[in-house]
């Protein structure tokens, strides 16, 4: 990630601290951060690390004890809180939808506060219901009639209603079940590709942070910023033991989930054409130190068989081959490739582009990718 010139930052925290009344130690002590326009910054850390406090100081739900906060070039501390908040989308875990107002009314909340006229609000609501993937006929229902996942979509739509440049999201997917959460995460990235908001996202789930964040800020108790950077950088080079421990013992696997297959070089693998003699097949296999060969013409891969079977048949056959069960595409991650490797007897992952065979990945190759 390149350095962003200071004035381009959409959100900037300068030496911000918060000490709650009656508490001797600060919840957040001297934190400085900036979030460039269009970035998703994820604040992550254990409970008590001040991540939510930090988020809520940006829209001044919590007043900072000291420091300065800039939002979209405006000094947030010197702005009327309710004026400031109408420029910032806010999504919380419990959704905070108004149970006495319909979905359409909920989504239209901030436009109404801003004094938009009715037709404009109605048009915007319709647009947002579509944008977040809800059915148009839900507009006149009440939040209580929707599932948790649907409610959270309404929460996101409501936050986007007045097209604020900034979105604050406080563990928005923390209360839904894992399957729905994964779908909502994917939808958020999809949405972000279209709307390009500056998002600050709080979670305690490091996997969610890695998946969603352009950058991730890892906070320690008392709002101490331990490390900030892209997920790749943090996983490759944790700044200290705290970060390493927080990332977990499967740090390598987590890194693999960030690397797409198309970014690594593939190996042609021990592949021979049908009709190859047993001796030729054996020497190809020997180069890869395996006891099998793949069968195919350049650009195709039909299957594989053991060398003993080639010897038994007298030559490499064209049919009756063992199939490669998982056919990966280049948009898959190395983590998925590794899963394919450990799940097949051939111990390789074959990569295709449609029907075209591109090459193979081995466990050694993947391991080299993250230890280089």
């Amino acid at each position: 990630m390149t350095e962003i010139p200071i004035n381009d930052a959409m959100i900037r925290l300068e030496h911000v601290s918060k000490t709650f009344p009656g508490s001797g130690t600060p919840a957040v002590g001297d934190l400085s951060l900036e979030v460039p326009e269009g970035e998703i910054l994820v604040l992550v850390g254990p409970s008590g690390c001040g991540k939510t406090t930090t988020l809520k100081m940006i829209n001044r739900i919590i007043e900072p004890s000291s420091g300065v906060i800039w939002v979209a070039g405006v000094n947030a501390i010197e702005t009327q809180p309710h004026e400031l908040r109408r420029q910032i989308g806010y999504v919380i875990q419990q959704t905070g939808l108004f149970p006495h107002r319909t979905i359409a009314q909920n989504i239209g909340t901030v436009p109404r506060l801003l004094g938009w006229d009715r037709p404009r609000i109605a048009a915007r609501v319709e647009e947002l219901i579509d944008l977040v993937g809800l059915d148009a006929d839900m507009a006149n229902r009440y939040p209580g009639e929707l599932s948790g996942g649907q409610q959270q979509r309404v929460g996101v739509a409501r936050a986007l209603a007045a097209d604020p440049p900034v979105l604050l999201m406080d563990e928005p997917f923390g209360a839904v079940d894992p399957i729905v959460r994964m779908r909502l995460q994917a939808e958020l990235l999809d949405l972000q590709a279209r709307v390009r908001k500056t998002i600050v996202f709080v979670t305690h789930d490091i996997d969610e942070a890695i998946q969603l964040g352009d950058r991730v800020a890892i906070l320690n108790v008392g709002g101490v910023l331990e490390q900030i950077g892209s997920p790749e950088d943090i996983l490759r080079e944790p700044a200290n033991d705290f970060v390493a421990e927080f990332l977990g013992t499967d740090r390598g696997l987590k890194r693999l989930s960030l690397i797409k297959i198309h970014t690594v070089d593939l190996d042609p693998g021990p592949v021979v054409v049908p009709g190859t003699s047993p001796q030729e097949a054996r020497s190809v296999a020997a180069r890869y130190d395996v006891d099998w060969v793949g069968v195919g013409t350049p650009g195709t891969l039909a299957g594989w068989l053991y060398l003993t079977e080639v010897e038994h048949l007298g030559q490499v056959p064209e049919h009756d081959l063992r199939p490669f069960i998982s056919r990966l595409t280049t948009s898959a991650t190395l983590k998925e490739a590794l899963d394919a490797i450990v799940s097949t007897r051939a111990k390789v992952a074959a990569v295709f582009d449609g029907d075209r065979y591109l090459g193979m990945l081995t466990a050694e190759r993947i391991s080299a990718e993250i230890t280089q």
């Binding site: 829209n59 739900i61 809180p81 309710h82 004026e83 400031l84 908040r85 109408r86 910032i88 806010y90 919380i92 875990q93 419990q94 959704t95 905070g96 939808l97 108004f98 149970p99 006495h100 107002r101 909340t109 901030v110 506060l113 229902r141 009440y142 939040p143 209580g144 009639e145 929460g155 409501r158 604050l168």
Partner: protein
């Protein structure tokens, strides 16, 4: 001799009822007016005191303490204490009746507003609601079921208490109960009691319907 007279008579003499329909209607109207004034004034005072309690938390305990004593003092005792000051008047009756509504109404208003999900309030504040707008557009509507529950209890209670005010000459249907006792005439007691209960049930039903109409989202939730 009088007792024998009471023993011999039927529970309700319908001819008396038929002869006194006008009186019954007039007493019912008086009963409604006394109840309406008490609830109206009680509600205004309760809203004001509740706002005070919500804005300045420290005032809540003394407010419930004082209204709690008002609630504990028997109505007849309160009327008796007031009569030397305000006489056998509507004012005496209403001071007592209003006094009884306060504790119930204030407790329900404050509990209703306190009961609003903090996440909803935070979301509203996060979207730029001012304090006043939050109260009027979010907190009060969401507290309505609890507030109306309080109004229901207060209205049924008040309708019952109005009968006691008959002893200071302003009792609506309570007048029949008192007359019946004085003359050992069961019909009047039954008419007063039954009409009073009917009134309470009718008002309660109206309030239930009002709540239904005012809080459609509560029903919508139940259909899931």
């Amino acid at each position: 001799m009088i007792l024998a007279q009471l023993e011999g008579q039927p529970l309700v003499r319908w001819d008396w009822v038929a002869d006194h329909l006008d009186d019954i209607w007039a007493a019912t109207k008086e009963h409604l007016v006394l109840t309406g004034i008490a609830l109206g004034v009680g509600l205004i005072l309760s809203v004001a005191l509740s706002l005070l309690a919500i804005r300045y938390r420290k005032t809540y305990t003394p407010i419930t303490w004082i209204t709690g004593i008002l609630y504990t003092i028997p109505s007849l005792a309160l009327f008796s204490i007031l009569v030397p000051i305000t006489g056998l008047s509507v004012l005496t009756a209403e001071i007592g009746l209003v006094g009884y509504t306060l504790l119930i109404l204030i407790r329900n208003i404050v509990a209703g507003i306190d009961g609003v999900d903090p996440a909803i309030k935070e979301a509203a504040i996060g979207m730029g609601y001012t304090r006043l707008r939050l109260l009027i557009q979010i907190e009060v509507p969401l507290a309505l079921p609890v507030i109306i529950a309080g109004i229901r209890i207060a209205s049924v209670t008040t309708i019952g208490l109005v009968t006691v005010a008959a002893l200071i000459g302003k009792g609506g249907l309570g007048f029949f109960i008192l007359q019946g006792l004085r003359r050992f005439f069961t019909t009047e007691i039954v008419v007063g009691a039954v009409m009073s209960v009917a009134l309470a049930v009718a008002i309660d039903l109206l309030l239930v319907l009002a709540q239904h109409a005012l809080t459609p989202w509560v029903r919508a939730k139940a259909t899931v």
